[in-house]
């Protein structure tokens, strides 16, 4: 891993020069399921090397956005462009998921989707091998290039596992790992594809406080040491505020705010989305409420998906729940 470390090209918060270079750009992305509009004219601009968090109430369309970016869903309208480091650009709209992954976008899933009956090592090897060329014939005949590829994927998987701190558990079945370890293994699997952009879908859901801290550190290391841009969906506001350079807020499929964490926290539209009412109050206090309100459900999320009534009493809980289940189907 260290050999492939790329110097991060810019500081956090996008302050330095070269910050204008966009790695991921969407415009006018609209995704409908029948009469339900899951994403409505979403604009996203992600700079290379930044950590961009996407937040929003349940059912806001965050995972739909991820699915659209990685080719799992095909939005009816809009443009999604990915600009890899070596130049050129790829349209991600309607691209096949495995092609998107090979271009350099890797993702994790909200409801962990590891290959449970394979070991941790094998899980990561599968990802590493998608970058290697060796066909079935050379494998069957045991040709040197197949053996070389096998060794290379082994080495790479070991590297990545030690990077996320799972080397000691590499021979355990993925399905029998603890929840926090499974989350980290998913990140390792995504990292093994050598991504330029890493999409993390609620990586902290269902993890305990210690694991959360480790995760925070891991995300920061991936971002700074490996120079990977991170797009993060997260409900845990403390994590978002400490890791993210910028935050984008979705509600009912629409982008309602974007900016630095502190800006977003004070944004009236955001507060309304979470609390359902705009009261002229001390901004800091409201920001505090938002943070608590949003981190609350993240803990409950671990169990069921029926937690959309975020306690805000907005009356849109049921609607949000419906969208949420639709979204994660």
């Amino acid at each position: 891993m260290t050999t492939e470390t790329v110097k991060k090209e810019q500081g956090p918060a996008g302050g330095s020069a070269g910050a204008g270079e966009l790695v991921l750009e969407t415009s006018g992305v609209t995704l409908r399921f029948g009469g339900l509009t899951s994403l409505d004219n979403v604009e996203l601009r992600m700079r290379r090397g930044e950590v961009l968090a996407v937040i929003g109430p349940n059912g806001a369309g965050k995972t739909s956005l991820f699915n659209s970016l990685t080719g799992a869903y095909v939005p009816q309208e809009g443009r999604i462009v990915f600009r890899p480091r070596e130049g050129g650009e790829h349209s991600l709209l309607g691209a096949k998921p495995h092609v998107v992954s090979q271009w350099g976008l890797a993702r994790t899933f909200q409801n962990i989707r590891l290959f449970g009956a394979l070991t941790a090592l094998e899980n990561v090897k599968i990802a590493a091998e998608t970058r290697l060329k060796s066909g079935p014939v050379s494998i069957m005949l045991g040709l040197p290039n197949a053996r070389k590829a096998e060794r290379a994927s082994d080495r790479r998987a070991h590297e990545v596992l030690s990077y996320v701190g799972l080397l000691g558990k590499m021979n355990e079945l993925a399905g029998s790992l603890s929840y926090g370890d499974q989350r980290r293994l998913e990140i390792a699997r995504a990292l093994a594809t050598d991504p330029e952009v890493l999409l993390l879908d609620e990586p902290a859901a269902g993890t305990n406080p210690t694991e959360k801290l480790e995760l925070e550190e891991l995300i920061r290391r991936i971002n700074t040491e490996l120079g990977v841009s991170v797009l993060l969906i997260e409900h845990d506001m403390r994590l978002v505020m400490s890791v993210a350079d910028r935050v984008m807020v979705l509600n009912f499929g629409k982008k309602i705010a974007e900016g630095s964490p502190s800006q977003v926290q004070r944004d009236p539209a955001v507060i309304e989305a979470y609390l359902g009412a705009v009261a002229e109050e001390d901004e800091a206090a409201v920001g505090q409420v938002v943070a608590e309100d949003v981190s609350g459900p993240a803990v409950r999320k671990a169990g069921t998906r029926e937690d959309a009534g975020t306690g805000a009493g907005t009356g849109t809980g049921a609607e949000a729940a419906r969208r949420d289940t639709e979204e994660h189907e």
Binding site: F33, N67, T70, A72, Y73, V74, Q76, K96, P97, H98, S101, Q102, A106, R107, F109, R113, L114, F115, G116, A117, L118, E122, K125, I126, A127, E129, T130, R131, L132, S134, P136, I139, M140, L141, G142, A146, A149, E150, S153, L173, G175, R189, A190, T193, E329
Partner: protein, 465 residues
Amino acid sequence: MSIKTSSAEGAGQDSPSTTAPLSAAARLRRVRWYQEPRWRRLGALLALAVTLRLMTGEEGTTQDLFLALREDFTGVGLWVWLAIAVAVWAVREFLADQTSSAVEGTKKVSAGPLERVRQVWSADKRVRMGVLTAVLALVVFGPLGVERYWQQVLVDQIAIFVLLAIGLNVVIGWAGLLDLGFIAFFAIGAYSAAYWTGSLPVQPPVALNNFLVLPIAVLTCLVAGVILGAPTLRLRGDYLAIVTLGFHEIVYLMAKNADGVTEGARGVKVDRFSIDLGFFSYEWKLDPMPYYWLLVVFIVLAIFLFLRLEHSKVGRAWTAIREDEVAAAATGVPTVRYKLMAFAIGASTSGVAGVAYASKVGYFNPENFAILLSILVLAYVIFGGMGSIPGVLFGAAFLVWLPEYLREWVDPKDRYMYLGALLVIMMIYRPQGVLPSRRRKRELRMAEAGVGGADATGPAEGRQP
């Protein structure tokens, strides 16, 4: 089940007096011991025993329609069958517990006898080589000592079906694609042999030796596999099974009805294997053993090549697709390509079997490729243990041998009843197969525990719009 819950609700809401009208059966269903799954298994076994008795006993006549029922239910036979069922159940339910708990008592390792054999097996390379050499020697020279009839069975059926099962195992056991039309590729292989050796009404550009047909048949089946696979592999599970079923019917009916091309139901005569290299020539004649050795070479070759695949990038990618196709694609695995690959590899193995079969029997007709054979090969793979080469070898060999063996003991017409009964018992007590692959076993265990999912139980999530 619904009856049980509704009666339980009724009892909960109303006063105890209303529980009286519950039927005896409904009350029984609420008793705790009844709810243990072992009683359901006993029920299934008893039903199986009665069915077997009815099916294998007296036949009815037109004069006396109920003769069969009367005879079968009054004689001793029924009781024998029921006793066997109870015995199987009792041994499996109670004695198995005792033996396994005894094993765990002496050894803290929670491994069955099979697992311990596996440990020795994987620990010492010399043991492995020794056992493999012994087995191979037995397989190669053992059949010399048996009767001619059994030699024929060994070649015409066991060896051919073992080769087919090895091929189907790639498709079903490793890639997890339910293929019910596998025999279609077998037919394509056989008809390729007939065409290229000049045995069909339509003549090939050059008539070839049977051995030279092998690569051509492999290629033809590969292409046929891709042609079938490309448009259909976006389908999942049950849908794919139906499409492959349809593909089999198409191939079968074409073979049957295209008289001018395939000779239709009259069947085709094919030359046997022969080699003529000038300085050395050999002809395979009526003696089954030379064919047998040839097939053993094919089988060993296939095993050798496929085992390498299983523990490689390709095998891992297949497992990933089987477990979670969405995650596999998101990880960068080109799912359609790998599924096509599995299909094509399975199909070409089947093609080799087809050529070998045609060149051995010398005459075949479309009935040799009936849909039943596809189902039987599938049963062999599942019985032996999906995804496990030793399992598949054993499953195919044993289940092909069994009906032939039963011929001496029971009414030949009933032989497949016993095969069916064996499969039912097997699926009740050992759904993972006789010698399951470790990956498959884990998947099944996890599916039972509710973690992840074997492909049979996992949710199928499709690509949205």
